[in-house]
Symmetry: none
DNA sequence: AAAAAAAATGCACAAACACGCAAAAAAACG
DNA sequence: CGTTTTTTTGCGTGTTTGTGCATTTTTTTT
Protein backbone atom coordinates (compact mmCIF):
# COMPACT_ATOMS: atom_id res chain seq x y z
CA UNK A 1 0.00 0.00 0.00
CA UNK A 2 1.40 3.36 -1.06
CA UNK A 3 1.88 6.25 1.31
CA UNK A 4 -0.58 8.47 -0.51
CA UNK A 5 -3.19 5.73 -0.46
CA UNK A 6 -2.94 5.58 3.28
CA UNK A 7 -3.19 9.36 3.49
CA UNK A 8 -6.33 9.41 1.44
CA UNK A 9 -7.82 6.57 3.44
CA UNK A 10 -7.02 8.32 6.70
CA UNK A 11 -8.63 11.53 5.50
CA UNK A 12 -11.72 9.67 4.32
CA UNK A 13 -11.95 7.85 7.60
CA UNK A 14 -11.62 11.12 9.47
CA UNK A 15 -14.35 12.75 7.48
CA UNK A 16 -16.62 9.87 8.32
CA UNK A 17 -16.06 9.41 12.01
CA UNK A 18 -14.31 12.63 13.04
CA UNK A 19 -11.46 10.80 14.78
CA UNK A 20 -8.87 8.10 14.14
CA UNK A 21 -6.59 6.17 16.48
CA UNK A 22 -3.01 5.35 15.51
CA UNK A 23 -3.37 1.88 16.98
CA UNK A 24 -6.43 1.02 14.89
CA UNK A 25 -4.93 2.40 11.73
CA UNK A 26 -1.68 0.51 12.13
CA UNK A 27 -3.64 -2.70 12.65
CA UNK A 28 -5.99 -2.22 9.74
CA UNK A 29 -3.40 -1.01 7.27
CA UNK A 30 -0.78 -3.51 8.47
CA UNK A 31 1.99 -1.00 8.97
CA UNK A 32 3.85 -0.05 12.11
CA UNK A 33 2.51 2.63 14.39
CA UNK A 34 5.62 4.63 13.57
CA UNK A 35 4.54 4.85 9.97
CA UNK A 36 1.05 5.95 10.95
CA UNK A 37 2.55 8.60 13.18
CA UNK A 38 4.65 9.84 10.30
CA UNK A 39 1.57 9.90 8.09
CA UNK A 40 -0.37 11.92 10.61
CA UNK A 41 2.54 14.27 11.07
CA UNK A 42 2.69 14.91 7.36
CA UNK A 43 -1.04 15.46 7.06
CA UNK A 44 -0.90 17.85 9.96
CA UNK A 45 1.87 19.86 8.37
CA UNK A 46 -0.46 20.28 5.42
CA UNK A 47 -3.17 21.56 7.72
CA UNK A 48 -5.50 18.76 6.77
CA UNK A 49 -5.95 17.18 10.18
CA UNK A 50 -5.61 18.05 13.85
CA UNK A 51 -3.11 15.67 15.41
CA UNK A 52 -3.46 14.66 19.06
CA UNK A 53 -2.04 12.04 21.37
CA UNK A 54 -3.07 8.64 20.14
CA UNK A 55 -4.49 9.71 16.83
CA UNK A 56 -6.00 12.67 15.04
CA UNK A 57 -9.20 14.66 14.83
CA UNK A 58 -11.04 16.24 11.97
CA UNK A 59 -9.92 19.76 11.30
CA UNK A 60 -12.81 22.12 10.65
CA UNK A 61 -11.14 24.90 8.81
CA UNK A 62 -13.84 26.15 6.54
CA UNK A 63 -12.70 29.67 5.86
CA UNK A 64 -15.62 31.75 6.96
CA UNK A 65 -15.05 34.82 4.94
CA UNK A 66 -17.20 37.10 6.93
CA UNK A 67 -18.13 37.35 10.50
CA UNK A 68 -21.03 35.07 11.17
CA UNK A 69 -21.48 36.41 14.65
CA UNK A 70 -22.58 39.71 13.23
CA UNK A 71 -25.53 38.16 11.45
CA UNK A 72 -28.85 38.71 13.13
CA UNK A 73 -31.64 36.16 13.35
CA UNK A 74 -29.50 33.16 12.40
CA UNK A 75 -31.97 30.70 13.89
CA UNK A 76 -34.87 32.16 11.93
CA UNK A 77 -32.82 32.12 8.76
CA UNK A 78 -31.94 28.48 9.24
CA UNK A 79 -35.63 27.64 9.53
CA UNK A 80 -36.32 29.54 6.33
CA UNK A 81 -33.52 27.69 4.57
CA UNK A 82 -34.94 24.33 5.61
CA UNK A 83 -38.26 25.25 4.04
CA UNK A 84 -36.70 26.75 0.93
CA UNK A 85 -34.34 23.88 0.17
CA UNK A 86 -37.35 21.68 -0.66
CA UNK A 87 -37.94 23.85 -3.72
CA UNK A 88 -34.59 22.87 -5.23
CA UNK A 89 -34.68 20.01 -7.72
CA UNK A 90 -31.96 18.38 -9.79
CA UNK A 91 -31.50 19.86 -13.22
CA UNK A 92 -32.60 23.36 -12.27
CA UNK A 93 -30.81 26.56 -13.11
CA UNK A 94 -30.91 28.66 -9.96
CA UNK A 95 -30.07 32.26 -9.13
CA UNK A 96 -29.19 33.15 -5.56
CA UNK A 97 -28.92 36.67 -4.23
CA UNK A 98 -26.23 37.55 -1.72
CA UNK A 99 -28.12 37.32 1.53
CA UNK A 100 -27.21 35.49 4.70
CA UNK A 101 -30.38 33.44 4.35
CA UNK A 102 -29.11 32.19 1.02
CA UNK A 103 -25.84 31.29 2.70
CA UNK A 104 -27.74 29.07 5.11
CA UNK A 105 -29.59 27.61 2.16
CA UNK A 106 -26.34 26.88 0.33
CA UNK A 107 -25.06 24.99 3.36
CA UNK A 108 -27.90 22.48 3.40
CA UNK A 109 -28.37 21.60 -0.25
CA UNK A 110 -28.35 17.79 -0.29
CA UNK A 111 -25.29 16.22 -1.97
CA UNK A 112 -27.38 14.33 -4.50
CA UNK A 113 -28.81 17.53 -5.99
CA UNK A 114 -27.30 18.29 -9.36
CA UNK A 115 -27.94 21.87 -10.46
CA UNK A 116 -26.41 25.06 -11.80
CA UNK A 117 -26.32 28.02 -9.45
CA UNK A 118 -25.56 31.62 -10.35
CA UNK A 119 -24.48 33.89 -7.53
CA UNK A 120 -22.63 37.12 -6.95
CA UNK A 121 -21.82 36.44 -3.30
CA UNK A 122 -18.33 35.40 -2.28
CA UNK A 123 -19.32 33.40 0.82
CA UNK A 124 -22.04 31.56 -1.05
CA UNK A 125 -19.63 30.66 -3.84
CA UNK A 126 -17.11 29.40 -1.28
CA UNK A 127 -19.78 27.32 0.40
CA UNK A 128 -21.11 25.87 -2.87
CA UNK A 129 -17.61 25.05 -4.05
CA UNK A 130 -17.56 22.28 -1.44
CA UNK A 131 -20.69 20.71 -2.85
CA UNK A 132 -19.95 17.64 -4.98
CA UNK A 133 -22.34 18.18 -7.87
CA UNK A 134 -23.43 21.81 -8.02
CA UNK A 135 -22.06 23.79 -10.93
CA UNK A 136 -21.28 27.27 -9.65
CA UNK A 137 -21.22 30.31 -11.88
CA UNK A 138 -19.92 33.41 -10.23
CA UNK A 139 -21.15 36.73 -11.49
CA UNK A 140 -18.12 38.98 -11.33
CA UNK A 141 -17.72 42.66 -10.68
CA UNK A 142 -16.46 45.12 -8.12
CA UNK A 143 -16.41 43.59 -4.69
CA UNK A 144 -18.39 45.29 -1.95
CA UNK A 145 -16.31 44.23 1.03
CA UNK A 146 -18.92 44.85 3.66
CA UNK A 147 -21.51 42.58 2.10
CA UNK A 148 -19.00 40.35 0.28
CA UNK A 149 -20.91 40.61 -2.95
CA UNK A 150 -19.99 41.96 -6.33
CA UNK A 151 -21.78 45.05 -7.53
CA UNK A 152 -21.57 47.45 -10.42
CA UNK A 153 -23.50 48.01 -13.60
CA UNK A 154 -21.09 45.78 -15.47
CA UNK A 155 -22.58 42.77 -13.78
CA UNK A 156 -26.15 43.60 -14.76
CA UNK A 157 -25.54 42.95 -18.44
CA UNK A 158 -24.33 39.36 -18.04
CA UNK A 159 -27.40 38.60 -15.99
CA UNK A 160 -29.62 39.46 -18.92
CA UNK A 161 -28.21 36.48 -20.76
CA UNK A 162 -29.20 34.07 -18.02
CA UNK A 163 -32.49 32.24 -18.01
CA UNK A 164 -33.15 30.57 -14.69
CA UNK A 165 -35.85 28.25 -13.41
CA UNK A 166 -35.95 29.68 -9.94
CA UNK A 167 -34.54 32.65 -8.08
CA UNK A 168 -33.95 32.69 -4.33
CA UNK A 169 -33.92 36.24 -3.10
CA UNK A 170 -33.13 37.25 0.45
CA UNK A 171 -34.51 40.57 1.56
CA UNK A 172 -35.03 42.88 4.47
CA UNK A 173 -37.78 44.81 2.74
CA UNK A 174 -41.03 43.47 1.37
CA UNK A 175 -44.40 45.17 1.48
CA UNK A 176 -47.77 44.56 -0.15
CA UNK A 177 -47.95 48.02 -1.72
CA UNK A 178 -44.31 48.97 -2.33
CA UNK A 179 -43.19 45.48 -3.33
CA UNK A 180 -39.56 44.46 -2.91
CA UNK A 181 -37.22 47.24 -1.75
CA UNK A 182 -33.50 47.55 -1.02
CA UNK A 183 -31.31 50.06 0.85
CA UNK A 184 -28.47 49.89 -1.70
CA UNK A 185 -29.20 51.24 -5.18
CA UNK A 186 -26.68 49.10 -7.03
CA UNK A 187 -27.95 45.97 -5.34
CA UNK A 188 -31.53 46.95 -6.19
CA UNK A 189 -30.62 47.05 -9.89
CA UNK A 190 -28.91 43.68 -9.73
CA UNK A 191 -31.82 42.08 -7.91
CA UNK A 192 -34.16 43.55 -10.47
CA UNK A 193 -32.31 41.96 -13.36
CA UNK A 194 -32.05 38.65 -11.50
CA UNK A 195 -35.79 38.54 -11.03
CA UNK A 196 -36.42 39.34 -14.66
CA UNK A 197 -34.13 36.49 -15.67
CA UNK A 198 -36.06 33.95 -13.62
CA UNK A 199 -39.25 31.98 -14.18
CA UNK A 200 -40.14 31.65 -10.53
CA UNK A 201 -39.17 34.07 -7.80
CA UNK A 202 -38.94 33.06 -4.15
CA UNK A 203 -38.44 35.80 -1.57
CA UNK A 204 -37.00 34.71 1.76
CA UNK A 205 -37.70 37.09 4.62
CA UNK A 206 -37.73 36.79 8.39
CA UNK A 207 -41.19 37.57 9.75
CA UNK A 208 -40.06 40.68 11.63
CA UNK A 209 -39.11 42.34 8.33
CA UNK A 210 -42.35 41.67 6.53
CA UNK A 211 -44.10 44.90 5.61
CA UNK A 212 -40.94 46.94 5.95
CA UNK A 213 -39.88 49.34 3.21
CA UNK A 214 -36.39 50.41 2.13
CA UNK A 215 -35.25 53.26 -0.05
CA UNK A 216 -34.95 51.79 -3.54
CA UNK A 217 -37.56 49.77 -5.35
CA UNK A 218 -36.56 46.43 -6.83
CA UNK A 219 -39.79 45.09 -8.36
CA UNK A 220 -43.52 45.39 -7.65
CA UNK A 221 -45.06 42.65 -5.60
CA UNK A 222 -46.70 41.11 -8.66
CA UNK A 223 -43.31 39.92 -9.85
CA UNK A 224 -42.92 37.72 -6.79
CA UNK A 225 -44.22 34.15 -6.85
CA UNK A 226 -43.60 32.91 -3.31
CA UNK A 227 -42.57 34.08 0.13
CA UNK A 228 -40.72 31.86 2.60
CA UNK A 229 -40.56 32.87 6.26
CA UNK A 230 -39.82 31.06 9.49
CA UNK A 231 -43.41 31.31 10.79
CA UNK A 232 -46.63 29.52 9.94
CA UNK A 233 -48.00 30.43 6.47
CA UNK A 234 -51.50 30.91 7.86
CA UNK A 235 -50.50 33.84 10.06
CA UNK A 236 -52.56 36.98 9.60
CA UNK A 237 -49.54 39.02 8.56
CA UNK A 238 -49.60 37.29 5.17
CA UNK A 239 -53.24 38.02 4.32
CA UNK A 240 -52.41 40.89 1.99
CA UNK A 241 -49.95 38.72 0.05
CA UNK A 242 -52.37 35.83 -0.11
CA UNK A 243 -54.98 38.09 -1.71
CA UNK A 244 -52.49 38.72 -4.52
CA UNK A 245 -52.19 34.95 -5.09
CA UNK A 246 -48.64 34.65 -3.73
CA UNK A 247 -47.65 31.25 -2.37
CA UNK A 248 -46.75 31.49 1.31
CA UNK A 249 -44.45 28.82 2.67
CA UNK B 1 4.97 -2.60 -27.52
CA UNK B 2 4.90 1.06 -28.40
CA UNK B 3 5.10 3.84 -25.88
CA UNK B 4 1.63 5.17 -26.62
CA UNK B 5 0.15 1.71 -26.26
CA UNK B 6 1.64 1.46 -22.81
CA UNK B 7 0.38 4.90 -21.92
CA UNK B 8 -3.14 4.06 -22.91
CA UNK B 9 -2.95 0.77 -21.05
CA UNK B 10 -1.65 2.47 -17.94
CA UNK B 11 -4.44 5.02 -18.03
CA UNK B 12 -7.06 2.31 -18.53
CA UNK B 13 -5.63 0.32 -15.69
CA UNK B 14 -5.66 3.38 -13.47
CA UNK B 15 -9.25 4.15 -14.26
CA UNK B 16 -10.15 0.64 -13.31
CA UNK B 17 -8.29 0.14 -10.07
CA UNK B 18 -7.31 3.66 -9.04
CA UNK B 19 -3.65 2.74 -8.60
CA UNK B 20 -0.76 1.15 -10.43
CA UNK B 21 2.63 0.00 -9.20
CA UNK B 22 5.74 0.47 -11.31
CA UNK B 23 6.89 -3.02 -10.34
CA UNK B 24 3.71 -4.71 -11.57
CA UNK B 25 3.61 -2.74 -14.79
CA UNK B 26 7.22 -3.50 -15.65
CA UNK B 27 6.57 -7.20 -15.08
CA UNK B 28 3.37 -7.37 -17.07
CA UNK B 29 4.51 -5.22 -19.96
CA UNK B 30 8.00 -6.77 -19.99
CA UNK B 31 9.87 -3.50 -19.94
CA UNK B 32 12.27 -2.16 -17.38
CA UNK B 33 11.05 -0.20 -14.41
CA UNK B 34 12.95 2.78 -15.77
CA UNK B 35 10.76 2.82 -18.81
CA UNK B 36 7.63 2.66 -16.70
CA UNK B 37 8.94 5.51 -14.60
CA UNK B 38 9.52 7.55 -17.71
CA UNK B 39 5.99 6.74 -18.88
CA UNK B 40 4.53 7.83 -15.59
CA UNK B 41 6.59 10.98 -15.61
CA UNK B 42 5.31 11.90 -19.03
CA UNK B 43 1.71 11.19 -18.10
CA UNK B 44 2.11 13.30 -15.01
CA UNK B 45 3.47 16.24 -16.96
CA UNK B 46 0.26 16.06 -18.98
CA UNK B 47 -1.69 16.14 -15.74
CA UNK B 48 -3.31 12.82 -16.47
CA UNK B 49 -2.13 10.93 -13.41
CA UNK B 50 -0.87 11.57 -9.91
CA UNK B 51 2.61 10.09 -9.65
CA UNK B 52 3.87 8.89 -6.30
CA UNK B 53 6.72 6.85 -4.93
CA UNK B 54 6.28 3.34 -6.27
CA UNK B 55 3.62 3.99 -8.85
CA UNK B 56 0.79 6.34 -9.61
CA UNK B 57 -2.74 7.11 -8.49
CA UNK B 58 -5.79 8.28 -10.32
CA UNK B 59 -5.73 12.03 -10.52
CA UNK B 60 -8.33 13.18 -8.07
CA UNK B 61 -10.79 15.77 -9.11
CA UNK B 62 -11.59 16.74 -5.60
CA UNK B 63 -10.82 19.85 -3.70
CA UNK B 64 -8.50 17.99 -1.43
CA UNK B 65 -6.03 17.17 -4.16
CA UNK B 66 -5.66 20.86 -4.80
CA UNK B 67 -4.99 21.48 -1.14
CA UNK B 68 -2.39 18.76 -0.89
CA UNK B 69 -0.51 19.77 -3.97
CA UNK B 70 -0.61 23.48 -3.46
CA UNK B 71 0.67 23.26 0.06
CA UNK B 72 3.86 21.85 -1.38
CA UNK B 73 6.65 24.40 -1.73
CA UNK B 74 4.80 26.84 0.45
CA UNK B 75 8.05 28.16 1.91
CA UNK B 76 9.44 28.86 -1.54
CA UNK B 77 6.21 30.57 -2.52
CA UNK B 78 6.32 32.81 0.52
CA UNK B 79 9.83 33.89 -0.41
CA UNK B 80 8.67 34.66 -3.93
CA UNK B 81 5.75 36.68 -2.57
CA UNK B 82 8.08 38.74 -0.39
CA UNK B 83 10.15 39.66 -3.44
CA UNK B 84 7.12 40.30 -5.63
CA UNK B 85 5.22 42.50 -3.20
CA UNK B 86 7.87 45.19 -3.62
CA UNK B 87 6.64 45.70 -7.18
CA UNK B 88 3.22 46.81 -5.99
CA UNK B 89 2.72 50.56 -5.71
CA UNK B 90 -0.28 52.62 -4.72
CA UNK B 91 -2.48 53.69 -7.58
CA UNK B 92 -1.75 50.69 -9.76
CA UNK B 93 -4.28 48.55 -11.55
CA UNK B 94 -3.18 44.97 -11.01
CA UNK B 95 -4.21 41.62 -12.45
CA UNK B 96 -3.55 38.47 -10.44
CA UNK B 97 -3.81 34.94 -11.79
CA UNK B 98 -5.19 32.17 -9.62
CA UNK B 99 -2.03 30.56 -8.29
CA UNK B 100 -1.12 29.70 -4.75
CA UNK B 101 1.87 32.01 -5.04
CA UNK B 102 -0.51 34.87 -5.72
CA UNK B 103 -2.48 33.85 -2.66
CA UNK B 104 0.65 34.27 -0.57
CA UNK B 105 1.25 37.59 -2.27
CA UNK B 106 -2.29 38.73 -1.49
CA UNK B 107 -1.72 37.94 2.17
CA UNK B 108 1.24 40.28 2.54
CA UNK B 109 0.22 43.39 0.65
CA UNK B 110 0.89 46.25 3.10
CA UNK B 111 -2.23 47.96 4.45
CA UNK B 112 -1.17 51.38 3.18
CA UNK B 113 -1.18 50.21 -0.45
CA UNK B 114 -4.14 51.58 -2.34
CA UNK B 115 -4.74 49.77 -5.61
CA UNK B 116 -7.28 48.03 -7.81
CA UNK B 117 -6.85 44.29 -8.25
CA UNK B 118 -8.59 42.09 -10.80
CA UNK B 119 -8.67 38.38 -10.05
CA UNK B 120 -10.62 35.27 -10.97
CA UNK B 121 -9.58 33.23 -7.93
CA UNK B 122 -12.01 32.69 -5.08
CA UNK B 123 -9.41 32.34 -2.29
CA UNK B 124 -7.51 35.39 -3.48
CA UNK B 125 -10.70 37.45 -3.56
CA UNK B 126 -11.55 36.31 -0.05
CA UNK B 127 -8.08 37.21 1.13
CA UNK B 128 -8.09 40.63 -0.53
CA UNK B 129 -11.53 41.42 0.83
CA UNK B 130 -9.91 41.75 4.25
CA UNK B 131 -7.49 44.39 3.01
CA UNK B 132 -8.52 47.92 4.04
CA UNK B 133 -7.79 49.81 0.85
CA UNK B 134 -7.60 47.42 -2.08
CA UNK B 135 -10.46 47.63 -4.53
CA UNK B 136 -11.21 44.09 -5.64
CA UNK B 137 -12.81 43.27 -8.96
CA UNK B 138 -13.79 39.67 -9.36
CA UNK B 139 -13.84 38.25 -12.86
CA UNK B 140 -16.81 35.93 -12.89
CA UNK B 141 -17.55 32.72 -14.72
CA UNK B 142 -17.95 29.02 -14.17
CA UNK B 143 -16.19 27.93 -11.02
CA UNK B 144 -13.53 25.25 -11.38
CA UNK B 145 -13.79 23.67 -7.96
CA UNK B 146 -10.46 21.94 -8.02
CA UNK B 147 -8.48 25.13 -8.55
CA UNK B 148 -11.07 27.47 -7.04
CA UNK B 149 -10.93 29.77 -10.03
CA UNK B 150 -13.51 30.81 -12.55
CA UNK B 151 -13.04 29.65 -16.11
CA UNK B 152 -14.97 29.72 -19.35
CA UNK B 153 -14.85 31.74 -22.52
CA UNK B 154 -17.37 34.19 -21.10
CA UNK B 155 -14.75 35.53 -18.75
CA UNK B 156 -12.20 36.19 -21.47
CA UNK B 157 -14.24 38.93 -23.09
CA UNK B 158 -14.50 41.17 -20.01
CA UNK B 159 -10.74 40.93 -19.60
CA UNK B 160 -10.25 42.60 -22.96
CA UNK B 161 -11.74 45.76 -21.53
CA UNK B 162 -9.22 45.92 -18.72
CA UNK B 163 -5.99 47.84 -19.00
CA UNK B 164 -3.65 47.03 -16.15
CA UNK B 165 -0.29 48.37 -15.07
CA UNK B 166 1.09 45.07 -13.89
CA UNK B 167 0.13 41.44 -14.04
CA UNK B 168 1.27 38.84 -11.49
CA UNK B 169 1.15 35.42 -13.02
CA UNK B 170 1.87 32.23 -11.13
CA UNK B 171 2.97 29.27 -13.20
CA UNK B 172 4.33 25.75 -13.11
CA UNK B 173 5.61 25.93 -16.65
CA UNK B 174 8.08 28.40 -18.08
CA UNK B 175 10.77 27.63 -20.60
CA UNK B 176 13.12 29.73 -22.73
CA UNK B 177 11.94 28.22 -26.00
CA UNK B 178 8.33 27.28 -25.33
CA UNK B 179 7.53 30.32 -23.24
CA UNK B 180 4.72 30.18 -20.69
CA UNK B 181 2.68 26.95 -20.74
CA UNK B 182 -0.32 25.62 -18.82
CA UNK B 183 -1.86 22.16 -18.30
CA UNK B 184 -5.45 23.43 -18.52
CA UNK B 185 -6.60 24.83 -21.85
CA UNK B 186 -9.24 27.17 -20.52
CA UNK B 187 -6.82 28.63 -18.02
CA UNK B 188 -4.23 29.07 -20.76
CA UNK B 189 -6.68 31.26 -22.74
CA UNK B 190 -7.52 33.34 -19.68
CA UNK B 191 -3.88 33.85 -18.81
CA UNK B 192 -3.21 34.85 -22.39
CA UNK B 193 -5.83 37.58 -22.33
CA UNK B 194 -4.66 38.75 -18.92
CA UNK B 195 -1.14 39.20 -20.21
CA UNK B 196 -2.36 41.08 -23.26
CA UNK B 197 -4.29 43.44 -21.02
CA UNK B 198 -1.19 44.33 -18.97
CA UNK B 199 1.67 46.71 -19.47
CA UNK B 200 4.16 44.75 -17.41
CA UNK B 201 4.08 41.00 -16.85
CA UNK B 202 5.69 39.34 -13.84
CA UNK B 203 5.90 35.55 -13.80
CA UNK B 204 6.31 33.92 -10.40
CA UNK B 205 7.75 30.43 -10.50
CA UNK B 206 9.46 28.19 -7.96
CA UNK B 207 12.96 27.35 -9.18
CA UNK B 208 12.21 23.64 -9.53
CA UNK B 209 9.62 24.40 -12.21
CA UNK B 210 11.81 26.62 -14.32
CA UNK B 211 12.38 25.11 -17.77
CA UNK B 212 9.36 22.84 -17.41
CA UNK B 213 6.81 22.66 -20.20
CA UNK B 214 3.07 21.94 -19.97
CA UNK B 215 0.61 21.04 -22.66
CA UNK B 216 -0.91 24.34 -23.74
CA UNK B 217 0.96 27.46 -24.74
CA UNK B 218 0.00 30.74 -23.06
CA UNK B 219 2.40 33.29 -24.57
CA UNK B 220 5.93 33.26 -26.01
CA UNK B 221 8.69 34.23 -23.64
CA UNK B 222 9.04 37.64 -25.28
CA UNK B 223 5.73 38.71 -23.73
CA UNK B 224 7.17 38.28 -20.24
CA UNK B 225 8.94 41.21 -18.57
CA UNK B 226 10.19 39.72 -15.31
CA UNK B 227 10.59 36.43 -13.49
CA UNK B 228 10.47 36.12 -9.71
CA UNK B 229 11.75 32.97 -8.04
CA UNK B 230 12.86 32.07 -4.54
CA UNK B 231 16.53 31.68 -5.50
CA UNK B 232 19.31 34.13 -6.30
CA UNK B 233 18.81 35.98 -9.63
CA UNK B 234 22.40 35.33 -10.63
CA UNK B 235 21.94 31.56 -10.73
CA UNK B 236 22.99 29.89 -13.98
CA UNK B 237 19.49 28.52 -14.61
CA UNK B 238 18.39 32.03 -15.60
CA UNK B 239 21.08 32.70 -18.20
CA UNK B 240 18.80 31.93 -21.14
CA UNK B 241 16.17 34.33 -19.82
CA UNK B 242 18.72 37.04 -19.14
CA UNK B 243 19.91 36.86 -22.74
CA UNK B 244 16.36 37.78 -23.76
CA UNK B 245 16.50 40.87 -21.54
CA UNK B 246 14.08 39.60 -18.93
CA UNK B 247 14.43 41.05 -15.46
CA UNK B 248 15.24 38.32 -12.94
CA UNK B 249 14.30 39.01 -9.33
C1' DA C 1 4.52 8.62 42.31
C1' DA C 2 4.67 4.60 39.52
C1' DA C 3 3.23 2.31 35.46
C1' DA C 4 1.68 2.35 30.87
C1' DA C 5 1.07 4.34 26.48
C1' DA C 6 2.45 7.28 22.91
C1' DA C 7 5.86 10.11 20.71
C1' DA C 8 10.44 11.59 19.35
C1' DT C 9 15.06 10.31 17.92
C1' DG C 10 18.57 7.95 15.57
C1' DC C 11 19.89 4.22 12.76
C1' DA C 12 19.72 0.48 9.23
C1' DC C 13 18.17 -1.26 4.99
C1' DA C 14 15.63 -2.22 1.01
C1' DA C 15 12.99 -0.22 -2.54
C1' DA C 16 12.40 3.44 -5.66
C1' DC C 17 14.52 7.14 -7.95
C1' DA C 18 17.54 10.37 -10.97
C1' DC C 19 21.20 10.80 -14.19
C1' DG C 20 24.37 9.85 -17.74
C1' DC C 21 25.58 6.79 -21.31
C1' DA C 22 25.38 3.59 -24.96
C1' DA C 23 22.79 0.21 -27.53
C1' DA C 24 18.68 -0.62 -30.04
C1' DA C 25 14.67 0.72 -32.52
C1' DA C 26 12.08 3.80 -35.24
C1' DA C 27 11.64 7.61 -38.27
C1' DA C 28 13.23 10.69 -41.76
C1' DC C 29 15.72 11.56 -45.79
C1' DG C 30 17.87 11.51 -50.26
C1' DC D 1 17.43 0.80 -50.45
C1' DG D 2 21.13 2.60 -47.33
C1' DT D 3 22.38 6.10 -44.26
C1' DT D 4 21.61 9.70 -41.08
C1' DT D 5 18.95 11.49 -37.40
C1' DT D 6 15.86 11.09 -33.73
C1' DT D 7 13.50 8.55 -30.26
C1' DT D 8 13.19 4.97 -27.10
C1' DT D 9 15.11 1.72 -23.99
C1' DG D 10 18.14 -0.76 -20.57
C1' DC D 11 21.92 -0.59 -17.43
C1' DG D 12 25.38 1.07 -13.97
C1' DT D 13 26.07 4.56 -10.79
C1' DG D 14 25.03 7.07 -6.69
C1' DT D 15 21.11 9.35 -4.14
C1' DT D 16 16.64 9.79 -1.97
C1' DT D 17 12.52 7.94 0.16
C1' DG D 18 9.81 4.99 3.02
C1' DT D 19 9.71 1.77 6.59
C1' DG D 20 10.69 -0.80 10.84
C1' DC D 21 13.25 -1.34 15.09
C1' DA D 22 15.69 -0.06 19.40
C1' DT D 23 16.22 3.48 22.66
C1' DT D 24 15.08 7.55 25.10
C1' DT D 25 11.83 11.18 26.25
C1' DT D 26 7.27 12.91 26.95
C1' DT D 27 2.50 12.44 28.01
C1' DT D 28 -1.37 10.04 29.97
C1' DT D 29 -3.39 6.92 33.15
C1' DT D 30 -3.65 4.55 37.42
Amino acid sequence: MLKQERHKLILDRLKLSKKVLSKNLSDELSVSEDTIRRDLKELESKDLIYKVHGGALLKENRVRSYDERSIADVEEKKKIAIKAVKLIKSGQVIIMSGSSTNLELAKIIPPEINATIYTYSLPIAVELSHHPSIEVIFIGGKLNKEAQVTVGIDIVNPIYNISADICFMGTDGIDVNRGLTEPNWEVSRIKNSMIRASNYVVVMCVSSRINSVKRHSVVPITEIDAIVSEIDPSEAIFSGFRDLNLTII
